[in-house]
């Protein structure tokens, strides 16, 4: 008895339709596997590159408590990358291959990390807005159709909520401080608001892969749905914080029971995606030198393990 490709595909589709998880050893369509690898890898790369903009402030954190919180947070991001690379490896690729694809520009990471962090307030803003947007994106992914990805997301989401809270708490504390500190917070929010909105990806009509990804249960909501949710969630938080969001079109629409808001600058979005953001080169350079400078260490450990095995 042989099983035809059609039967396998039928079984796969039934699994996804039931809302069941697809596991690594199941048969899956090649396009599903490729889409997953692309999405999980991009996500993993974002966690790892995302260590840099905030990590640059660890050495200068203005209190020992903040230094500990920030170091623990950036360390968590390394863990997130590690969990996601592992999930991706169950699809038949390796961390080294993925790292090489990141470094050669074949795979992307979230554009938000190509923006600079010139102010300590950016640590708070990133926690609040960037980790906040990441949570909006990621919570639905805990139910994504591919088992290892969903399980990695559950673990990650637990830690992200701590990240968002510490960021918001830092900004709240700074708002209770000096006038200078309040100005730092507002200036930072002004810089990060639009890039944070762009984190949800291009508008639905310019996002050709969304439909297939939703049919496969890889994605659970459209970009615009998630962006709306984020805005609705963030506006009251901004009010409580005492900052303004830099969008003159932002207002409550009682008919829709949601906020209307302006259009992000999609030209800027595509320019940064294509590698022309303020920090693209710098981020990849750092990652490349860490990877290359570490090669002799990884090789030494393998050589020593082989010696022990003999």
């Amino acid at each position: 008895m042989t099983v035809t490709e059609t039967e396998l595909a039928g079984h796969f589709e039934a699994t996804v339709a039931r809302g069941d998880r697809v596991e690594p050893r199941d048969w899956m369509p090649e396009a599903y596997r490729k889409t997953l690898i692309r999405q999980i890898a991009q996500h993993a790369h974002s966690e790892i590159i995302g260590m840099q903009p905030e990590g640059d402030w660890i050495s200068r954190a203005p209190s020992l408590r903040r230094k500990a919180i920030l170091l623990a947070k950036v360390q968590d991001e390394a863990g997130h990358g590690l969990y996601l690379y592992s999930a991706c490896e169950t699809l038949g690729t390796s961390r080294r291959e993925l790292t090489e694809k990141l470094l050669s520009g074949k795979q992307k990471y979230s554009s938000i990390f190509n923006y600079p962090t010139p102010s300590y307030a950016d640590v708070g803003t990133i926690g609040w807005l960037v980790d906040g947007a990441a949570i909006c994106n990621q919570v639905p992914l805990c139910r994504t159709s591919f088992g290892p990805y969903g399980r990695a997301m559950i673990r990650i989401c637990k830690e992200e909520s701590f990240h968002q809270r510490q960021g918001y708490e830092l900004l709240m504390t700074m708002m209770r401080g000096t006038d200078e500190q309040r100005a730092m917070v507002q200036e930072s929010v002004d810089r990060f608001w639009w890039p944070a909105l762009m984190m949800f990806g291009p508008p639905d009509d310019a996002s050709p892969n969304t439909e297939q990804s939703m049919a496969w249960g890889i994605k659970r909501n459209t970009n615009d749905e998630l962006r709306q949710k984020f805005v609705d969630m963030t506006v009251p938080q901004a009010r409580a914080l005492g900052v303004t969001l830099p969008d003159p079109e932002l207002r409550w629409n009682s008919e829709r029971q949601a906020h209307d808001f302006g259009e992000p600058d999609w030209h800027e979005f595509w320019a940064v995606v294509k590698g022309n953001g303020p920090c693209n080169a710098e981020r990849l350079d750092r990652r490349r030198s860490a990877h290359e400078d570490g090669a002799w260490v990884r090789d030494a450990a393998v050589a020593f393990a082989e010696e022990g095995a003999r």
Partner: protein
């Protein structure tokens, strides 16, 4: 923000560091027979070693040879930072005169006043902690030498008459035992890995060895170190000792640079609330 049902029961996730307060229920009065000024000086020595080494280790964040090592080095840095905070706070409580004067309405807590508002000439860390980072072999070798001595110090400090110091030691010795094991494991691995890793680790040891006498290791520490060296097939370098006077607040340029960076934001906002 995230609903619990979505995340499910997380009893089987082992998140979390040790969140218990190591000083809970500990008597914080300086006991009779302990000189508060001497106690504060001792706390500053050990606190500054931890703070400065933690700062150096955290420079590896996002630059380590692999993600696993990035996470491991951050854990060590976090442990040391935790020790530094407890020790600086104890120094300030034992002898408030060690804390730099700040404007009356400054909200800066004592541990931060000590970390961010002292000049290099007021730091008591050993020289080895402050040297600029080299490669991974240098970091591992430095961590081995420093943690092996610090562990011995903490093991005797468990019986310190000051209950706070004893509690800090009880918590810290477990952390330090792990730091030593981590460093020793890597030291042996690098020494016996490849020709390149061996060359690098021997070079690192040669460079650091001049500062070993400053650590003033007791005899039993020398024995443990020799065991690690034997496992690594490494002998003690023959290097002229440097004049390390960190305990007397004499430091290299490297500490000046480290502190200038570390203190920059705090000093720009002396009345800042963080």
């Amino acid at each position: 923000m995230i609903s619990d049902d979505l995340l499910g029961n997380d009893a089987h996730w082992a998140f979390g560091t040790d969140f218990e307060d190591p000083l809970a229920g500990v008597d914080t009065t300086v006991p009779d027979g302990v000189d508060p000024a001497a106690l504060a000086r001792y706390c500053l020595m050990l606190g500054d070693d931890a703070l400065v080494l933690s700062q150096r280790l955290s420079e590896w964040c996002s630059r380590a040879p692999d993600l696993e090592e990035d996470i491991a080095l951050a854990n060590v840095a976090l442990d040391l930072l935790g020790q530094a905070r407890l020790l600086l706070a104890r120094a300030a409580a034992a002898d408030p005169s060690v804390v730099p004067a700040l404007p009356d309405d400054s909200p800066v807590p004592a541990e931060d006043a000590l970390a961010f508002f002292r000049s290099p000439a007021e730091f008591r860390n050993v020289t080895m902690a402050e040297l600029p980072n080299g490669d991974f072999a240098e970091t591992i070798t430095r961590l081995l030498l420093l943690s092996i001595c610090r562990l011995a110090e903490f093991e005797s400090m468990v019986a310190h008459p000051d209950a706070v110091l004893a509690a800090v030691a009880a918590k810290g010795r477990k952390e330090l035992a792990y730091h030593r094991d981590f460093a020793a494991r890597w030291f042996v691995t690098l020494a016996r890995g490849t020709a390149e890793s061996r060359r690098r680790v021997l070079g690192a040891l040669d460079g650091l060895w001049a500062f070993w006498p400053e650590l003033d290791a007791p005899a039993d520490v020398e024995v443990v170190l020799d065991q690690v060296f034997a496992a690594a097939d490494v002998s003690r370098p023959e290097v002229t000792p440097a004049r390390g006077l960190g305990r007397e607040c004499v430091h290299t340029e490297a500490l000046t640079d480290l502190l200038a960076e570390m203190q920059s934001v705090a000093r720009a906002h002396p009345k800042g609330l963080w």
